[in-house]
Amino acid sequence: MNKLNKYLLFLIVFLAFVLRFWKLDTYPALNADEASNGYDAYSLIQTGMDQHGNSWPISFQSFNDYKPGLYVYLDIPFVKLLGLNSWSVRIPGAMFGVLSVLLIYLLVKELFEDDKFALISALFLAISPWHLQFSRGGWEVNTATFFLLAGLLLFFNSFREIKFKHKVTKLVLSSLCLVAALYTYHAVRVIIPLLGLSIILIYRNVIFKNIKPYLIFAIFSVVILLPLTHDLLSGGALSRVAGVGLFADKGPINRINEQRGEHSSVNGYFAEILHNKFVNYGLFFVNNWTSHFNGEFLFMSGDSIERNKVPETGEMYLIDLLFLAVGFIFIAKKFNNSWKFIISWLLIGPIASALTFQSPNALRSQNMVIPLTVISAFGLTTILNYLNGRKIWKFIGITFLALLIIWNFARYLNMYYMHMSKTYPYSSQYGVKELVEYVLQDQSKYSDIYVTNRYDQPYILFLFYQKYPPQKFQFHHTLTSRDDFGFSTVSDFDKYHFGPIDFTSIQNNYPNSLIIGTHEEIPQSANIIKRIYGTNGFEYFDVVSN
């Protein structure tokens, strides 16, 4: 690696840092899941138990969705150091995002031994809309992707070690990282075993020539996975997975009935062979899987869930289409083991997401960003190599490509910072911070405070922003029973009550209360003492003193 490249790598990582940390605390607003992770970390520090009183859990009960727990533990030092606030909740995610940029550089270098290619990969990941979206915030998935990258890097690196001891050390470290990913996020629990299988298949010659260290790797991994296995088999985590799983979707079943009904003999041999659960769920699954390769998803509009996306922006830039196409063409010409691995990763990447019924889903398939970035970077590298040595074309070509990349990136920044919170004002919990700060000023005046539950899980944000003492909360609340999507919430703690605002009934039954509702829930003739606006200028709440 020459000196110039070192500077370039430093600049790229610095760019990654700026893009991930700039206005990290406020943009976008903190959402309920992040608040829950942060508050659980806070609660563990204070009491050794999570918000619901479970001591040092492996999965966090949270909204009864049993979040995989490692992120909360990684967050503990930051909450301890910086206190409970948006920064401390988000720094680990952003930090692992920056480190992932470094890791992709190392991984590409490890696999392809090409410095330029590796640098471009790092640059592309640094500015990737997909990677940025989930780096900016306390998203478990991004941390899992980091551990996955680290584990794979160490695993491939172990191929180079000749001494048994060194090889085993690297493999044990690799195992630790991969297992850490499994403790961090659901989707990788499907992806990593499949990636493992594909690695065994692709590198069978290397692995079976000297199998002993890999057996140690396998045994070690199994051992450190035991607590997770135990937790999954005994806890409520599986029910959450079932709640979003493909089989929770009744569409395929209804379709079976419809299709069999259209056959002349409904219970005929033919109707049953062609239209049954196996076939229909299979087709839904494969359809979901292919949807992650839709151009509309990748290059135009991204995920359909607002929280996971930037308006009018795909998971990648439109210009990536060109680089990916060139990349694929030249991969076909040189289909070595490293490419076999990258391609198999690309194919495996969306499988976990396809097993759920909201597809395509950028969150659950985020690991795809790595193979896609690598292929796209390979495309640009190939183009640059082609241009090299053609004087005038080199100049025109590079200028043209640079302008396109910069324009794509600039439009992304424009959309992210100037439009996202206005176009999707309900994608995150905007306005709640402002609300809690206001309520805290004079809550002592009221005996009851009624807050609308129109926006996701308000209780956790009230706990979070007022740093409510966990010991006072843990055993003094009840979780509601699960809703259709498998989530629970807390509707009462202290003097707070969360629910739909039936204004007149609350007004009549609870004198001396504070009523907080959305603009639509509050009659404008009421005694509104404050209107709460989010950072994006939207009016979110009307506060009524009763």
């Binding site: 494969v286 292919t290 151009g295 076909a332």
Partner: protein, 543 residues
């Protein structure tokens, strides 16, 4: 042994492919799809009218562009249907037969083109004949009076003779004629034919200009002469219907534009960029698994069969393998043509307002078939067990398609196919003399054309009374309001209650005040769609 050798010779296999294609395109052609669309009925009746009188339904003598519903259909299909209507009489089958025959011809032309483009790949041509014969996209549009299908066959002929002309120059004239005829076959052919022609010339740039000048000039002049009637429609307003279907006729709302006045409007949010995004997004939709394999053209359910894409499920594996095989080797003129055609041809659909539009992008069936053939070409070298697995997946996908088309389409999509008009005409016709007035629900389905078609209404008699009321919307289709004592109008019960002795044929929505007065309204008949659930028509007599 000799017989077996003969069967497996390329002629033998080609014959099998053609017979297979024939069976898949002709079997139950008249009854599946279950009914004629208004366009099909119009093409059929105009052919009948030409046959009997030499004039179209409006009395125009041998037109090249048919006014029809005011959409001005290029007329080649009508003339192709004349002999078939002459032989088989006016029926669904005879109306659809030209498309089916052209669909079978396509298989042979694809075989010829692939043999010419990829002489080095032995057996690729015969593979592509089988792929084309069993391809859902091509089968679907061969089974119905789809003008686009005629246009594809002509395009294939144009491509074949173009390639041939590079060796034997005189064929360029034939090529030009076929390309020009595509314009007379189908409205949407303008862009796709231009794409094909441009690609062929660019890819064979040097060889093309070595063609003898007099051949080039002759073919150019012939091409222009044939396309003149179509070129004229661009100026006399008859092509206005295209603007309704164009994506560029649907700008953003002012409120939406307002949100983007952030000081960077021209850099990041301009109208041009917005249209570009809309076109790209439709272009991407074409390549989605949703469209290609699983759901098909959900924006136009009449363009695909239920829960079936334009390709077979097995092609999900073969298509990427085919691309991989093509790119593994150095690109040559043939593969370059196929790849560029694959990229460019969906644009004819991408500029349409619909999210997907299978009929407009039908040309893409050709590069898809060839890429899939490359996939098979590669897979036959794999391990035996892998091949068996591929065969199993392929067979499942093929049966799934046959089931979707022949079993599910009639039941599931009969409403989209405008099922019921034939039955209603058959029901009403014997009653026409019994009632003073018959009111038939007016709709975009153009009920009058079904009366003409199924009554085999004397064209000479109709031509005198044809009176298409044009739509108040520019470029939209018009309406026929009256045929003898049958009036086509929006059923208005408050006015009808005073018209004793009227027969009313209406859609399924009957207001309660009609149902609650059996002394006034007598229900005579109810027709359901083929799913046996939804009602298509009700017949009521006003006493």
């Amino acid at each position: 042994m000799k017989i077996i050798n003969k069967i497996f010779s390329s002629q033998g296999l080609l014959l099998i492919a053609l017979v297979l294609a024939g069976i898949l395109r002709l079997w139950h052609l008249g009854s599946i799809a279950p009914s004629l669309t208004p366009d099909e009925a119009s093409l059929g009746y105009n052919a009948y009218s030409i046959l009997k009188t030499g004039r179209d339904e409006f009395g125009k003598s041998l037109p090249i562009v048919f006014k029809s519903f005011g959409d001005y259909k290029p007329g080649l299909y009508v003339y192709l249907a004349v002999p078939s209507v002459a032989v088989f009489g006016l029926s669904e089958f005879s109306t659809r037969l030209p498309s089916a025959i052209f669909g079978i011809l396509s298989i042979y032309l694809i075989y010829l083109i692939v043999r010419k483009l990829f002489a080095n790949y032995k057996s690729l041509a015969i593979i592509s004949a089988f792929v084309a014969a069993t391809n859902p996209y091509l089968i679907y549009f061969s089974r119905g009076a789809w003008e686009a299908n005629i246009s594809i066959t002509l395009t294939l002929a144009g491509i074949y003779f173009f390639l041939k002309s590079l060796d034997e120059n005189k064929y360029i004239i034939l090529s030009s004629i076929f390309f020009a005829l595509t314009l007379i076959a189908y409205q949407g052919a303008k862009l796709s034919t231009a794409i094909v022609l441009l690609l062929l010339i660019l890819i064979n740039w040097k060889v093309f200009w070595k063609i003898k000048l007099n051949y080039l000039i002759t073919s150019f002049v012939l091409g222009v002469i044939i396309s003149i009637p179509i070129i004229l429609t661009l100026f006399n307003g008859q092509a206005q219907r295209l603007t309704i279907f164009s994506v560029f006729s649907y700008p953003r709302l002012p409120e939406e534009i307002q949100t983007y006045s952030d000081g960077y409007f021209y850099l990041f949010h301009s109208d041009q960029l917005n249209y570009f995004r809309m076109v790209m997004s439709r272009w991407f939709n074409f390549y989605s698994g949703h469209f290609l394999f699983f759901d098909g053209d959900t924006a136009n359910p009449v363009h695909t069969s239920p829960y079936q894409g334009i390709l077979l499920l097995g092609d999900l594996l073969l298509l990427p393998i085919g691309l991989f095989t093509i790119f593994k080797n150095k690109l040559n003129k043939g593969t370059l043509f196929v790849i560029l055609l694959l990229i460019l041809s969906p644009f004819s659909a991408a500029i349409s307002r619909d999210q997907t539009n299978a009929v407009r992008s039908l040309l893409t069936a050709i590069p898809l078939v060839i890429v899939i053939s490359f996939g098979i070409y590669e897979v036959i070298n794999y391990h035996k067990i892998v091949i068996l697995a591929f065969i199993a997946v392929w067979i499942f996908g093929f049966i799934y398609f046959l089931d979707s088309y022949f079993v599910h389409l009639p039941a599931h999509n009969s409403n989209y196919w405008r099922y019921g008009y034939k039955q209603m005409v058959d029901y009403v016709t014997p009653l026409e003399s019994k009632y003073k007035d018959i009111v038939f629900e007016q709709s975009f389905n153009q009920p009058y054309i079904y009366f003409l078609f199924y009554q085999k209404y004397d064209p000479a008699k109709y031509q005198k009374q044809a009176n298409l009321v044009s739509s108040k919307y520019k470029g939209d289709v018009g309406f026929e309001t009256k045929l003898d004592n049958v009036r086509f109008e929006r059923v208005d019960w408050s006015a009808l209650q005073f018209t004793n002795g009227t027969l009313v044929v209406t859609g399924p929505t009957i207001p309660p005040e009609v149902i609650s007065r059996p002394e006034k309204y007598k229900f005579l008949y109810e027709l359901k769609y083929l799913n046996n659930i939804d009602v298509a028509f009700e017949v009521v007599e006003v006493k």
